[in-house]
Amino acid sequence: MTMRRHVFPMLAGLIGALLAPQAQANPYEHKLTNGLSVIVKEDRRAPTAVHMVWYRAGSMDETNGTTGVAHVLEHMMFKGTPKVGPGEFNRLVAAAGGRDNAFTSRDYTAYFQQVPKEKLGEMMALEADRMRHLNLSAGEFEQEIKVVMEERRLRTDDQPQSLLFEAMNAVAFKAHPYRRPIIGWMNDLESMTAQDARDWYERWYVPNNAYVVVVGDVDHKEVFRAAEKHYGVLKARPLPSRKPQDEPAQAGVRRVTVKAPAELPVVIMGYRAPIVRDVEKDVDPYALEMLGAVLSGHGAARFSRHLVREQRLAVSAGAEYDSTARGPGMFYLVGTPSEGKTVSEMEAGLRAEIAKVQSEGVTAEELNRAKAQLVAGEIYKLDSMFAQAMEVGQLEAVGLPYRSGERIIEKLKAVSAEQVQAVAKRYFGDDGLTVGVLDPQPLADAPRRSFANVRH
């Protein structure tokens, strides 16, 4: 699970003055006639650049029976076009002194290369080529689907907490596609075909469903020219309609237990929570972000201080909430009870912390502390070009303008103690709660094998 605090490019306050002349324009955006947006952020600190292509298609756009296909296609994108043979993409990026990879989320699929700045044009040529001309051969698919199944075994099947989280989502969401794992159910992977991947590619991989993000030691005008040259030739095509698949209201607590080989139990409590849809008018998502920071934003935040240190109820405890997403939101409380403490006591402890905020609120000191971290975090973020590109990409992916980052920070800084108390009262009722418990199973129950020492 991730604890993604806000990651936004623009700064107010502290160094706003330093960057003021540039901040008005940078990042720059240019839209090609085929619908592809190109967003460039100039950062001249080192002679490198990061190039990302984002597609507005993630696992939430999949349907039952082919779960995991967004991610499988991501793997297949490295398997060649008529111009670039299987595996050649990676070889060409490596030859350019670059690094590349890709990632699939619920909301999007994205590809990136980090390169010396003079290689940016080559990267665009490669990405533009595979945006519309992927081979997707059955032979390559046969091998790659096995790799994806190994990835599922590695990251989910053999990871008790991943299994718990997967099971929790499948229970917390009944209608919304967030109920399905990004990696896909194993049986869907087993029965997936090259044609499933082809269908996905044909449906979503078009310039009007994509955008390009570049951050680095570049001139935005030159990047726009290169983008016209490489991406401009690709034809737009109408996209299929997207159904909202709204999650119906929940009316009552849901519980799920997962057994897996482990030593310590884990409790996850997930509460339905709102998401930022209107940057200016929304209030509650910002207040929930600040609540998360007060509960577990630093080493002496409430969960750590109360549950781990004072009560010794938990080995670890945290709150996780992401206020930006295409789909519905959840506010998670996670705890691992100490030896001798039960999962019920852990759950009660987490509930008691929420109850305390509901009845007594949070202090101005706590809130200011969270804001100080937020402000510093925005400046630290500028140390990474990759992180800056991610910010732009993720905001766009969830349908918020990439320029709204600065406003969102202002909104977070404006949250009052009363607003934090109000969201604690509003969103933490049992009717919108799902509780997941990891029930650890001793390894000793597994079949034992003899130790064999073989000399070569």
Binding site: R45, A46, Q143, D158, A262, S316, S338, M385
Partner: protein, 433 residues
């Protein structure tokens, strides 16, 4: 969650990243009046300052029978120091927007700080850092609690196939050498509070401290900072030199586990910091299993056969010979097949070395990607602190590309023949059928 793929691949990046730096970073170096060695890179582009102080206080310094002491000691330093209790430390730092980090690995224990460069903020943050380094309180109650948490985490990790494999691997490579000893239930139980106090007093000393400073401050300010951070430490004596690890006899160890995937490691103690074969091994390993998606292991194990999601090889140079390691995970039923392919790739590579084409590709990437290894203050700090702690030459950055370019196929073959001898190769398979 939405970023889980990314998180995992960023984690992988740690495996693939070599220890390098680049021309163009100007390192200023001096010895502070306290005896600490200082490495400073002025960088004014952002209003931030990063500081790291490294000590020879890693797990290799644990007394026999008390494995885990170095990590516990480092962990408790943040939890109460000077007139601050553990919550004070964390809250004051949070109020400043400063971040205290670090930890203890095998050779090294680190205390690091990132702070805003504003005069008032940084002064307060440096003051806290100084106190954490030189005046930790080690309260009894915190000690008992943290030891219990460490035990719980250890018990949990001992159920994980990756931990079981990793521990068996290090133990197989190093036996009773300090690199092979790892925290266990008994060794943690044997640690007493006074052990932490003694370990801190003996190991966190100015004469062994390497202070690395990167960011928006002047040389004069950096000089004052280095003194501030180390003047309250005893001068101390250098950490004892570690014994040279003996090479183990080739062994294959198979351990049971109910996991869906087998975890496979192959390797041996191979490379010490400062070894002249470093460059040839880096170039060679790129083609074998270090070059991400373009390596031989990736092609044979993953691309051609679909045996694994992740397969890699790397050298981890340490104070004494650090490991060469190949790793992969595969469906348990095909563990033997995947292991055979892996061994065949290694054997062929040892016999032939890379092709001229591979050699050229390896150099092109290692040299060409050089700027990516130093394009942030964070990366500069990581690289310069390694140079400082391990006493690598200050022109390491400036000569790196040239030394990589000079490597020939014959160099790679000879270096691998010297450092990776099959007669000493340890194989660990956990959860293989």
């Amino acid at each position: 969650m939405n970023n889980k793929m990314l998180k995992a691949l960023l984690a992988l990046g740690v495996i693939f990243s070599a220890q390098a730096a680049m021309a163009g970073v100007k390192i200023e170096n001096w010895t502070a009046p306290t005896g600490a060695r200082v490495f400073f890179v002025e960088s004014r582009a952002l209003p931030i300052i990063d500081v790291q102080v490294d000590f020879a206080a890693g797990a290799a310094q644990d007394p026999v029978g008390k494995s885990g002491l170095a990590q516990l000691t480092r962990g408790l330093m943040d939890l109460g120091a000077g007139d601050m209790n553990e919550s004070d430390v964390a809250m004051k730092l949070a109020d400043l927007g400063a971040r205290l980090g670090g930890g203890a690995d095998t050779d090294r224990a680190s205390v690091s700080l990132r702070t805003l460069a504003d005069a008032d903020k940084r002064a307060a943050a440096f003051g806290i850092m100084r106190t954490v380094i030189s005046a930790p309180r080690f309260p009894e109650a915190v000690f008992e609690r943290e030891r219990a948490r460490t035990l719980a985490a250890l018990r949990e990790s001992l159920t994980r196939p990756e931990t079981i494999a990793s521990r068996a691997f290090w133990s197989g490579l190093y036996g009773k050498h300090p690199y092979g000893l790892q925290p266990g239930i008994e060794s943690l139980a044997a640690i007493e509070l006074d052990d932490l106090r003694e370990f801190h007093a003996a190991k966190y000393v100015a004469s062994s401290a390497a202070v690395t400073i990167v960011g928006a401050l002047s040389r004069a300010e950096a000089e004052a900072l280095a003194v501030q951070l180390t003047e309250a430490l005893p001068a101390g004596v250098a950490a004892p030199v570690l014994p040279v690890p003996a090479l183990p006899a080739a062994t294959e160890l198979r351990l049971p586990h109910p996991a869906a995937q087998a975890h496979i490691h192959l390797g041996l103690p191979a490379l010490k910091r400062g070894d002249p074969d470093f460059y040839a091994l880096m170039v060679g390993n790129y083609s074998l299993g270090g070059g991400g998606f373009v390596s031989r292991l990736m092609k044979e194990v993953r691309d051609k056969r679909g045996f694994a999601y992740s397969v890699y090889s790397y050298f981890a140079p340490m104070k004494e010979a650090g490991p060469f390691q190949i790793g992969l995970q595969t469906k348990r039923a095909q563990a033997n097949d995947a292991l055979k392919v892996t061994r065949d790739v290694l054997q062929q590579f040892l016999a032939e070395g890379p092709s001229e084409v591979e050699l050229k590709a390896a150099k092109a990437n290692i040299v060409g990607s050089f700027p990516l290894r130093l394009d942030s203050n964070r990366k500069i700090l990581d690289n310069v602190s390694a140079i400082g702690f391990y006493g690598m030459p200050l022109d390491y950055l400036d000569t790196y590309a040239q030394k990589i370019e000079q490597v020939t196929v014959a160099d790679v073959r000879a270096a691998f023949a010297r450092h990776v001898q099959p007669a000493h190769l340890i194989t660990v398979v956990v959860a293989g059928d």
